[in-house]
Symmetry: C2
Subunit: 377 residues, 2 copies
């Protein structure tokens, strides 16, 4: 598989929803080869704590790419056929411009001087990246969780730039409960004295304890009650009986502490604040006079909406709402609800039904447009 | 309504599950009057952050008692007829012995030198309190959430000491998900540098930020998605549009911050650790060879198990499990599942169906035992 890691330095600044203008760059990876008429490009949008290493080893963790079961030669998103682009989002911390980047005004890390960004802003920079490749029309845009929000934003506002869209385990807006959990996570970060009002880089420290708590909170919402029960239940960690103390007696405690501690080594606290805030602010209907269906009027995009039965963070009901809006404007939409015990995390796991749904949907789009390595016939 | 606030100083130390012995006292309130043959006493068991002020103004907050809609003259738990006792649990911080109490060995606050306590330990001290009143048999024991765990512990281990039991919105064990949320809350407290390894009293400070985060996390689990959506949705707080910042733009954020901040004024952080840990450790079946039904063999107690449809912290399935165990040993049990949008918090709210269920159940027990102000006929 042809794999490239690169940086897109946009020469033009970008105007953000908050009113600020900012110069930025995006770190991205590509997999496979762009064909002659540039008709085989698929954009992958990552989730809150994801990155550009969708199908290649993450150099920070040494782990396989987060969607390496989905993207690769012969896989659902087949890199023998498609040219796959995945960029770290604006506001992120894995190479793209974000709050850890240097503020040209001060020569120091932005910290909280970084402007607030939105899902729409992230997509604006992705559009520029796609322009940079001189790709007029993406074959598909695919993403899960926050990535799915980006997919919806693309579909609503760049109708002529993509043939199909696959938003997975996502919603057209962050719910009150979603906002609540992320707000508590942010409060945990901000409560950490090592956060220093966001200025921790100058203090050569980081709010690791607060960020670990934020990650633990979010992580619980990614797992279903069923999977927690099955995987951990009340099983004890390396001990025969409870210790009558505050040690991690239970496996679930040990697991969460590990999740929290390993997360802080790969993610920046301020990025967590900014990117989670972008999710809170996302409400696609609001951009269209409060009517979600208006986001999709006259669309020619083919949609495949995918949800998981036990996902309570982004429940099937949220995906059905999107499907209904699409149906109301007679859009071409398939809705797939996958029976999985794994909760929200299912979109990142070994879920053959998910891979089959994506592969089948792309294949049917393919037959329509007859993608070949050399271009459309 | 006759109302007394008092302290029960047990002259005897108590042996705890962890092996330690401890001298203790309980702060309790009573409502109504104990009849001549002491047959009209009802014990109320409070939840994690509850207190003895079930039916009287809380002197710390100035607010009405947490169950003042349930307990009082002419109410479901009718203080014209019953003598109601409610004590702050062992390990609590509203007057009963807990980690804020003075350790006789050091002359300073216990902090983490306080022994780990269990639900069974809490009940042991309540049994002593009931003995102190020379009450042989309680007319009923009633409680919600953690209070319901105490009710189950009473019913399982003090079979001859109560006629009826009403465990509400509770479970026979803390689930993996419950443990997960409380573990993250404890981590938030312990991550606060003002916690000082539990020794914050000596430093004249308190881990208020960490405790506020813990409270916010727990509070989200007490509300249903439905009630959050209905009450807050994505409504903004005192503003026309988002501010592109980390202020509490959304009402849900403002609400949670308020919940967190007001909680720390009335509750001690170490008590939160100890009492939540007691909940984690609770697994009634484990006390009976892993079979919940064994907890109830040969019981003559009448049970009324109550749950709420949208309670996802202590879901109806957990109450059904208790009901099934009771059915297996042919116990006298009613199961009431109340259709409420309010989630776990429903047990504390104005839920006429809840009051009717409790009133009706007590009345039928009453008819059997013919309680009068003067005693049994």
């Amino acid at each position: 598989m042809n794999h490239v890691s690169a940086i897109f330095n946009d020469e033009q600044a970008i105007k953000l929803d908050c009113g600020s203008e900012i110069k930025y760059h995006l770190s991205y990876d590509t997999y496979g080869t762009l064909n002659a008429d540039k008709s085989n490009a698929i954009l992958i949008c990552h989730a809150l704590t994801g990155d550009q290493y969708a199908a290649s080893t993450n150099p920070i963790t040494g782990k396989a790419g987060w969607w390496s079961l989905m993207i690769g030669p012969g896989l659902a998103v087949d890199t023998d056929k498609y040219f796959v682009i995945c960029a770290n989002v604006l506001g992120g911390c894995i190479g793209s411009t974000g709050p850890t980047s240097t503020d040209p005004k001060t020569g120091k890390a932005y910290g909280l001087n970084f402007p607030i960004i939105t899902i729409a802003d992230m997509v604006r920079t992705q559009v520029r990246l796609v322009d940079h490749f001189k790709i007029d029309v993406l074959f598909s845009v695919i993403g899960g969780s926050m990535g799915g929000m980006l997919v919806l934003e693309w579909a609503a506002n760049y109708k002529d730039r993509l043939l199909s869209a696959i938003p997975i385990a996502t919603a057209s807006k962050h719910s009150s409960q979603n906002i609540a959990f992320y707000e508590v996570g942010r409060q945990a970060v901000m409560a950490d004295p090592n956060w220093h009002g966001g200025n921790y880089h100058a203090n050569e420290t980081a709010p690791k304890k607060g960020l670990a708590v934020a990650r633990m909170i979010a992580h619980i919402t990614y797992m279903s009650e069923e999977s927690l029960q099955k995987k951990f239940g009340r099983k004890l960690q390396d001990r025969e009986s409870i210790t009558f103390g505050f040690d991690a007696d239970f496996q679930i405690e040990s697991y969460l502490r590990h999740q929290g501690m390993s997360f802080v080594d790969r993610f920046d606290a301020n990025s967590y604040l900014y990117v989670s805030r972008a999710m809170d602010y996302f409400d696609l209907a609001e951009q269209f006079d409060g009517h979600l269906m208006n986001a999709f009027i006259d669309t020619n995009i083919r949609f495949c909406i995918i949800s998981f039965t036990t996902d309570w963070a982004f429940p099937p009901a949220a995906s059905k709402l999107i499907t209904q809006a699409l149906n109301r404007v007679a859009a071409n939409v398939s809705y797939v609800e996958i029976d999985s015990p794994s909760g929200h995390d299912a979109f990142l796991m070994n879920e053959p039904e998910l891979f089959d749904a994506v592969a089948g949907f792309l294949k049917s789009s393919d037959e329509k447009h007859e993608i070949t390595p050399k271009g459309q016939k």
